[in-house]
Assembly symmetry: C2
Homo-oligomer: 191 residues x 2
DNA sequence: ATTATTATTTACCATACGGTCCGTAATATT
DNA sequence: AATATTACGGACCGTATGGTAAATAATAAT
């Protein structure tokens, strides 16, 4: 009878997400991963395969956790498109200021990190971007004028997505909370 | 009499900028830098000190080259604020599509790369962000309504800067040329 | 030709890196 | 207790990494 796992794989994935999100792929060593997960390399290799596969698992965990939360906010906030985006941006700003979380957005960070840009990573990133784009599209559709004009909706969705990604990069240093709120408020005027 | 340098330090800095911009700090090894610059490590260490100082030199070169070019475009394009931003965004989109340059923006990439986030790097990045923000502020001032309302100008500047940074991240994979143009056109409607 | 100074080339260094090997441990079943 | 199976811990691996040491080279001045 096989020895049971001494840890929860989901917790390992969450720890992987957190460390790779904070530090990026190249700057996170296996020793860092050991410390973050509380597991030894051999256990990690047994479960995930290699460092790169751990990275992909981290990205997928982010998708299931953070991208899904953004989708929930955009999809379930009652009212207008603007109200939905306001809720999303408020969530972004609050996590940076209240929780002191300046990791930005793992999707944006990973997109910026060229070294991890192999086809598999690119595919996971594309899926996540696609989900964000769809969620943005859906939130805009709360307003009749966007429902009735697919071209406008798509262009606005792209603009909003670019600004969202930019805000999540700038939260890491260039923009303080006040600047974030100012940018967000002006962005909401576009809707 | 000392032996003269066998290379041009400015060319070395440009080569450093290009390799670090393409690959980021952690994923660029000293061997990569040797290949990119055509110089041996000892020569590089003599001139720059250490790898991190080479990175700072690369960022400063980017500031003098690319940030300065964006400033020139925004400052010297005749006409309205919108025309100025249109020229800037066109330049961004054209470098991605015509020149196949998908490195994005070194400033944005460096901001996303947590490992290089020591105080010195943060300072260089802050200076560059500040220059971009000032250039955006100046370009908006081409229109009387922005000249006459500092609060509006500042909020719009922040929004535009976020969207610009986001576009430069998204150009690396999530947005093709058509998507870039669509997002840019919608962004220009905000001005 | 010699000299002093800096620059380049080559070899070398200690440590870090991602990954593998192998002995021991944990478990249910018999 | 013995067994088979998987899981974990610790040691080990070959290569990569950022950096240093030392010999040789380039140059103008004497």
């Amino acid at each position: 009878m096989a020895r049971p796992l001494g840890f929860d794989p989901e917790e390992a994935k969450t720890a992987l997400m957190n460390i790779f999100w904070a530090r990026g792929y190249e700057a996170t060593s296996m020793q860092d991963i050991e410390v973050a997960t509380g597991l030894r390399k051999q256990s990690l290799y047994r479960l995930f395969g290699d460092k790169h596969s751990m990275y992909l698992a981290a990205l997928r965990t982010y998708e299931d956790c953070v991208v899904a939360e953004a989708e929930r906010i955009l999809g379930q906030t009652p009212g207008s498109a603007r109200a939905r985006f306001a809720a999303l941006l408020d969530w972004v700003i609050r996590s940076a200021s209240d929780a002191g979380d300046v990791r930005g957005c793992f999707l944006a960070n990973a997109s910026a990190e060229a070294s991890a840009a192999d086809p598999e990573t690119a595919e996971v990133l594309a899926i996540m971007s696609g989900r964000m784009a769809s969620a943005f599209d859906g939130a805009l559709s709360a307003d009749a004028r966007y429902r009735d004009d697919a071209g406008l909706r798509r262009a606005r969705m792209r603009h909003l997505l670019a600004a969202y990604v930019g805000l999540r990069i700038l939260v890491k240093g260039a923009f303080d909370e006040a600047a974030m709120r100012e940018a967000a408020d002006d962005l909401l005027l576009s809707i």
